[in-house]
């Protein structure tokens, strides 16, 4: 069932606002996901199984082993996956 109310709407809006900020896509997505995790922890939004799967994909895309640079496709993956997350949390 879709979460409703001002807190849920604020969490969704802030997620989108963080993604739209100027700056590096990877940093923005990391910040946006942190906001999303807070919303899940507060019970404001629901972590559906599909969202959990997308977050798992995102974690791999942004994984950065010690001493390595992030791969050149990480930013694009972050943008693509966060777009999907935005769609999913509209119903979360």
């Amino acid at each position: 069932m879709t979460s409703t109310g001002p807190a849920a709407e604020a969490a969704r809006r802030q997620f989108s606002e963080i993604l739209a900020r100027k700056g590096h896509a990877v940093d923005n997505v990391r910040d946006a996901v942190a906001r999303l995790e807070q919303a899940f922890a507060d019970g404001v939004l629901t972590r559906t199984s599909e969202i959990a799967g997308v977050l798992a994909d995102l974690a791999v895309a942004l994984e950065q082993d010690e001493g390595q640079k992030l791969g050149g496709k990480s930013a694009e993956a972050a943008r693509f996956i966060s777009r999907r997350l935005e769609q999913l949390i509209a119903d979360a």
Partner: protein, 200 residues
Amino acid sequence: MSIFLGRGPRVSDQQKKRIPPGQYFTEKWPVLHYGSVPRVDLKTWDFKVWGEVDNPFEFGWAEFKEMPRKALHTDIHCVTRWSRLDMDFDGVAIQTILERAKLRPTARFVVVHAEQGYTANLPVEVLDDDDVILADMADGAPLTPDHGYPLRLVVPRRYFWKSAKWVRGLQFVPADRPGFWERYGYHNDADPWKEERFSE
């Protein structure tokens, strides 16, 4: 006569015919992937073939190196718009794997599994093209870690994200299952000559 395609070195008329629409020619081999380059230990590395097959099997690195070899001279095309011509890959023909696996009639698609949970999907008839190989060498040398060491799939007739690096298995399935990039907006079919880059 040679032609300049906007970026990169000059290419001949003959080479130009081999470059799909919207692509530019490069002599480099750009490194593109997400996340980190996985660390691989050949002593524990394995490759699994399963799903809609009569003979699921696994092999290790030593067994892979004993399989019949195939050399492939081909062009590759990345969705990010670069094309590299006249590459030489060396490895094992995919037909060696398919014949051993004995695909069932229900095996219509394959999910290519790679390190870190990366997947790519293909119809079996595309995987079974005669220019598809599991490559451990490129241009006469073992793959470098950032190009897929120790093993990558090479599917030259599709954009190169279908040619999964760090490949670890093939799962044959009856119905198509979008892979990593296909789930997030890349085109399911990825034919560079049709410019099938994105699904939206």
